[in-house]
């Protein structure tokens, strides 16, 4: 990367610019007057902690959300990005963290999706293949356009997504955590591709919380914290320390972590095989008071393992024991009755009854405890909701509102509250702070630690190493359904965990 001076080259024109952009979601100000410029032939990195506003900024740049304040300029002219489609027509394309490919179609169909070449009004398959072939070559992926997407790994899918943007003549390519779920070799390939695109004049916006990657790839770095812009660094002046201090903006508080008490074994997995990775058996014991972090990349089977324990997914083989007593497989109802709780990854789909009042959402798993002879006691439900809303610092605390009106963090508190109402013995959490702002994240962590202190065994899965390292007493590493490490969090470093998550070598 010794091509001229990155900022002052003649063709580094500003393609896309955000000026004082703000965005509010309900009570949360996600972005507060943020400005940035995106130039052709340049990589702009946007970094920040979870909930700092990175994703919101990307969604505004790519037409998913419209800003509440400020303006966007495209090629110097004020522009309203009315929709994703509109942004794509202008040449702004977002490659989403959770890939958005149609798995039932082949690679070519995905690459031309929405802009299918036509001949005499009919789909022109040959032209589609040609377009796809061309784009695949540019991203350096040597597969046939006829390959079904379902048969591709995560790394290849990422490249197909980028190929799709290239085929749409993207001038601005926004990559949201592109390497989060890639192996080392795949990530290197992606870094190489980005540098090629940049030299070809494409503007690249990169969101990542892997700082080494950012330092390697970016020409400029914008740091966000709590929705505000905290600084913009040139590649020549950027160091890891500078970025971190801007990102955090305070001393990183050491999480209070008690030494692991050996309470009784609450949860034991014996030779458990989930249907996602039936080749690998999982053996694990968790004691009361322990907080165990389940670390793993996308596809490692974290969610599947938790769902198998809870019983919403049927185990292929093996045993789940709660306090030494075997749970019947595939029976969440018995699991709940025995004191197991699951906070699912997808709150909206598996967790909440969004249009219903918060208090009903709180009481949903403990209706039998709040009734007499099958007849509900509304007074008892209201008392429960009053107590939970206060204990969990629910904002706003009015539990007659619909659950759907709450912010992500408060919605998560409602799901947690539902289980607190049952005083669980085993608490399973899947991505406990996904889509949750920084403040609520700390609160949720405190709630989880508090439950553990009361003797609950906690097993949580997270794709964020920061979270695993800061919340867990013990870290269990999962790779393709296999436990590849069981570490004491006190002396486990990020590298030690990462090395156990990533496959050694990719062919």
């Amino acid at each position: 990367m010794n091509d001229a001076d990155p900022q002052h080259g003649p063709d580094r024109t500003i393609v896309l610019e955000a000026r004082g952009v703000s965005k509010r979601f309900g009570a949360v100000l996600a972005l507060d007057e943020v400005s940035c410029t995106v130039r052709s032939g340049e990589v702009l990195a946007v970094v920040g902690e979870n909930g700092a506003g990175k994703s919101t900024l990307m969604k505004i740049l790519s037409g998913v959300h419209e800003p509440d304040g400020g303006e966007l300029r495209f090629e110097g002219r004020p522009t309203r990005m009315r929709s994703v489609r509109h942004a794509q027509d202008l040449g702004v394309s977002l490659v989403h963290q959770e890939l958005n490919l149609a798995e039932n179609l082949d690679v070519a169909a995905n690459i031309v999706l929405g802009r299918e070449p036509r001949r005499l009004g009919m789909l022109d398959g040959r032209a589609a293949s040609r377009i796809a072939d061309d784009a695949l070559r540019k991203v350096g992926l040597s597969i046939s356009p006829r390959t079904p997407v379902a048969s591709l790994g995560v790394g290849s899918r990422q490249l197909v997504e980028i190929a799709k943007s290239i085929a749409a003549d993207a001038r601005v390519l926004i990559l949201d955590e592109p390497t989060a779920s890639l192996s080392k070799a795949e990530a290197d390939r992606l870094v190489e591709l980005v540098s090629q695109l940049r030299q070809g004049g494409t503007a690249v916006v990169l969101i990542s919380h892997r700082l080494d990657e950012v330092l390697r790839m970016a020409d400029r770095i914008v740091v966000l914290r709590d929705g505000r812009q905290r600084g913009e660094l040139d590649r020549s002046e950027a160091t890891r320390e500078k970025i971190v201090s801007l990102m955090v903006g305070r001393d990183v508080e050491a999480v209070e972590r008690r030494p692991i008490e050996s309470g009784p074994v609450r949860l034991a997995l014996k030779d458990l095989r989930s249907d996602a990775h039936p080749r690998h058996a999982v053996d694990l014991e968790i004691r009361g008071g322990e907080v165990v972090g389940l670390a793993g990349l996308v596809g490692s089977g974290r969610t599947e393992l938790l769902e198998t324990i809870f019983g919403v997914r049927r185990a292929r083989a093996g045993v789940v024991e709660i306090e030494g007593v075997r749970l019947p497989p595939g029976d969440p109802r018995t699991a709940v009755a025995r004191g197991v709780a699951l906070v699912p990854e997808d709150r909206g789909r598996h967790g909440l009854f969004l249009p219903d009042p918060i208090r009903l959402n709180f009481a949903m798993a403990s209706l039998a405890d709040h009734s007499r002879g099958g007849v509900l006691s509304f007074q008892a439900i209201r008392r429960l909701a009053d107590r939970l809303a206060e204990d969990l610092h629910l904002r706003p605390p009015d539990h007659a509102r619909a659950a759907g009106t709450l912010s992500g963090g408060n919605q998560q508190k409602v799901v947690l509250g539902r289980w607190i109402a049952r005083s669980p013995k085993v608490l399973l959490l899947d991505e406990p702070t996904r889509g949750v702002d920084v403040g609520a994240r700390a609160e949720i962590h405190a709630i989880v630690r508090d439950l553990a202190a009361k003797g609950c065994a906690v097993l949580f899965a997270s794709s964020e190493l920061d979270e695993v390292l800061s919340l867990a007493d013990r870290i269990v590493c999962l790779r393709e359904g296999e436990i590849t490490g069981d570490l004491d969090a006190a002396d486990a470093g990020e590298e030690a965990v990462m090395a156990r998550l990533v496959a050694e070598q990719v062919a």
């Binding site: 598996h350 249009p355 219903d356 009903l360 949903m364 798993a365 009734s371």
Partner: protein, 341 residues
């Protein structure tokens, strides 16, 4: 509940317009008939509504009405069974149908639409089969049992007892008693019991319900059983009322009246919401509309289905527009509040 109120206003407006534009709407005879029909269809609609609230749909209502409507006189007259045995068998067959359909949906994971569509064909086919397509009637007997549907309860001080059997006297038709009992029971179960919450939660978000430990399958089963049992009971009342059933067309299209009443009364086909009182208002509105078409001379009777279809569509559309408007207003209010804070 707000929706039920809106429908009630619409009901009053349609009734007022009909009484102005047509002859005899407010006559005692007509009003009593309207009440009777509303009660009979209301019972079916509550059954349909419970299934819809649980996130399902029951297309078999009309055929279950036909089956029980033919089965009752057939057992009594042709087979010479005793009244209690025949009634128990008819209701039992309804429950069995519910168990069968609900079981296929809950454990067989089949779509309710398909299961009950097959039911719609199957039960009518069975009814036409065992009766050899012959009309089944009570042949002038069983007046005691028939009082359940044909009985009239005088209102003290209002009903003209001198002319009680004439068209000028208004009395409460017996099916209304059944309807009120069912409304009270269903509304209580739905609003005040754990089962009711489970039913609505299952309809709202079956996955989240399962993740909360709700016995989703049993709840689904119970909804289908309630639906089919009410259809069977309704079918029994229908045949007791008219005295005979012709297997080829008895109860034809009744599932659509039942579903339409439930939707007009506030049930969302997405499941998870609805009120029993609203459903009864919806059923009443449909019966008044049918009455309007008969009484108002310039509306050709042949247009009945077209008028019903149009009115239901307008009702559903108006409701959706109101909902969107209030949601938008609610959001704006919430934003104002946060910006003040």
């Amino acid at each position: 509940m707000k929706k039920a109120l809106g429908m009630l206003v619409l009901l009053v407006v349609v009734a007022a317009l009909t009484s102005l534009a047509g002859e005899g709407f407010l006559s005692a005879y007509n009003l009593e008939n309207l009440c009777r029909r509303t009660a009979l269809f209301g019972i079916l609609a509550i059954g349909a509504g419970l299934v819809i609230m649980a996130g399902g749909i029951d297309l078999s209502t009309g055929s279950v009405v036909c089956l029980s409507g033919c089965l009752l006189p057939w057992l009594l007259v042709e087979q010479g069974w005793s009244e209690p045995a025949a009634v128990a068998t008819v209701l039992g067959s309804g429950i069995a149908i519910g168990l069968f359909q609900g079981g296929l949906v809950a454990w067989g994971r089949l779509q309710p639409f398909l299961v009950t569509l097959c039911g719609l064909l199957f039960y009518r086919g069975v009814a036409r089969g065992f009766t050899a397509d012959q009309t089944q009637g009570f042949q002038g007997g069983y007046d005691g049992l028939r009082t359940l549907a044909t009985g009239r309860i005088p209102i003290p001080g209002l009903t003209d007892l001198e002319a009680f059997d004439g068209p000028a006297a208004f009395a409460i038709p017996a099916p209304v008693v059944s309807l009120v009992a069912i409304v009270v029971l269903a509304a209580f179960l739905l609003r005040f019991t754990v089962w009711g919450r489970w039913l609505l939660a299952t309809g709202r978000n079956p996955e989240a319900a399962a993740y909360s430990g709700v016995p989703v399958r049993w709840v689904t089963l119970s909804a289908f059983v309630s639906g089919a049992a009410l259809s069977a009971y309704g079918g029994m009342l229908f045949v007791l009322d008219v005295g005979s059933a012709q297997p080829a067309d008895f109860g034809n299209f009744y599932e659509l009246y039942a579903i339409a009443a439930a939707v007009l009364g506030g049930c969302s086909l997405r499941g998870g919401e609805g009120s029993v009182v609203g459903i009864v208002v919806g059923a009443a509105l449909l019966q008044v509309l049918r009455n309007t078409i008969t009484l108002v001379e310039w509306i050709p009777d042949n247009l009945e289905y077209a008028v019903l279809g149009a009115v239901i569509l307008v009702g559903v559309l108006a409701d959706e527009l109101v909902r969107r408007y209030s949601r938008r207003r609610g959001r704006r209010l919430a934003e104002d509040r946060t910006s003040e804070a």
